[in-house]
């Protein structure tokens, strides 16, 4: 039983690290903001959850487990929300810039 828990916690940690790394490569290599957002948003939550579950399995102390669960819940709440807000703001920014460009070109065409 002990060995089983140990192996499964190692497995969770391994998957988490792998997801982390893939997210890191994604944020560095993807061409534009939205694809980077996708890389981070998809991997980050799952990687965090995996690593924290691995730690929970690794650790026998009850109080520490409770704290880890709190961190896990917090991450599950916060990181999608932050991602949503970020994507929203970026989209608005793009739209506004497009509008501005359109207006500018209209102004130019009307003056010329």
């Amino acid at each position: 039983m002990d060995a089983f828990i140990h192996i499964s916690s190692s497995l969770f940690l391994l998957i988490g690290s792998f997801l982390c790394l893939s997210g890191g490569i994604g944020i560095l290599r993807f061409p534009d903001f939205y694809t980077r957002m996708h890389a981070v948003g998809v991997t980050e939550t799952l990687a965090t959850a995996m690593i924290l579950i691995g730690l929970i399995l690794y650790n026998p102390d009850f109080l520490v487990d409770v704290k880890l669960v709190i961190i896990l819940l917090m991450t599950l709440f916060i990181s999608p929300t932050a991602g949503h807000a970020l994507a929203n703001a970026a989209m608005l920014n793009d739209k506004m810039q497009k509008d501005d460009n359109k207006q500018n070109s209209e102004v130019k065409s009307s003056t010329s």
Partner: protein
């Protein structure tokens, strides 16, 4: 980098990194403080200030060579000065010889608190900490004096109302999640406040976390709503009450025939007295820090977005 917003981002990362460094160096309390202060609040204040002063730095017209020369000379002199220093991590360094063993070995009997940092902070060096709290209070008053003056240039009220409306429509999800989170942040601040004797934490950290919950509320729901929830003059009184509470604990022990800040006078059992004293002092620190941070933020943010009329009403 010319874009000051990017500078603020990098400063936030710098804060996060130095806090993880503090964890690696065993300074958990310091890491706690740096996490909440360096990464959170200083970035926020920096952002608010940048939003008021403009985002772009002018292209530099200075001569960097002279500055570089001064910096290199000073740096090499300092490095020369370190050659006699004790090695990193050696237990024989002079800093570990004099007073630290007394704190580590005797503080459990004398104070009865497992967190040595808290017992040194609030009991052995209470007078020092009192000075720090007064400095924080004074800085808050300074910000109040500088920024609460009504500004002369008129603000376009309609623009601000429009902006706030747009914010509220767009950030529906953010607002709901924040509404759920805020009670937990406040609860966690209280946990940090009263658990400081046993684990990392204490008044300074709790005050900062408490204040940051109020910051989030202010940022998402607008200055006017926050003003309605939190009365500014009440906060100012609260800051003063924190400092006074701290001082009064010292005066009470003075009246009971002991030295200033000698809490063993507070109860019959000296260790229980120490506990009581540390509790009150941390409470005073927490009150002062939280309310000073709220004062600072309200004055910065309020200058940014409240129309003049409501400023006058507040006065």
């Amino acid at each position: 980098m010319k874009d000051l917003l990017a500078v603020a981002m990098l400063l936030s990362i710098y804060g996060l990194l130095s806090a993880s460094f503090f964890v690696a160096m065993d300074a958990v309390d310091v890491a706690f403080t740096e996490a909440s202060v360096g990464a959170g609040i200083s970035t926020l204040l920096m952002l608010v200030a940048i939003s008021m002063t403009g985002r772009a730095e002018h292209p530099s017209r200075h001569k960097p060579l002279l500055a570089l020369a001064v910096v290199i000379v000073t740096g090499s002199l300092l490095i020369y000065g370190t050659l006699d220093m004790p090695y990193f991590g050696s237990a024989e360094a002079p800093i570990h010889q004099h007073i630290a063993p007394r704190y580590i070995n005797d503080s459990m009997q004398e104070i009865g608190v497992p967190n040595i940092v808290t017992s040194v902070l609030a009991s052995y060096r209470a007078f020092d900490t009192f000075g720090e709290v007064v400095v924080i209070f004074t800085a808050g008053m300074g910000v109040l004096a500088l920024l609460s003056v009504v500004r002369r240039s008129p603000v376009d009220i309609a623009k601000i109302v429009l902006f706030n409306d747009a914010m509220h429509e767009r950030h529906l999800i953010l607002r709901i999640v924040t509404k759920i989170m805020i009670p937990f942040i406040l609860l966690f601040a209280f946990y940090v406040q009263f658990h400081g004797d046993f684990g990392p934490g204490g008044g300074f950290q709790a005050g900062v976390i408490f204040a940051s919950a109020i910051f989030v509320y202010t940022m998402l729901f607008g200055m006017n709503t926050a003003r309605r929830v939190i009365n500014q003059s009440f906060i100012q009184v609260l800051a003063a009450i924190g400092v006074l509470l701290y001082g009064c604990v010292g005066v009470v022990s003075l009246f009971n025939g002991k030295k200033f800040f000698d809490y063993s006078a507070l109860a019959i059992d000296p260790v229980a007295g120490q506990h009581l004293g540390i509790l009150f002092i941390e409470l005073g620190v927490g009150l002062t820090v939280a309310s000073v941070m709220v004062i600072i933020f309200f004055n910065f943010a309020g200058r940014n977005e409240t129309p003049r009329n409501s400023d006058k009403q507040d006065l």
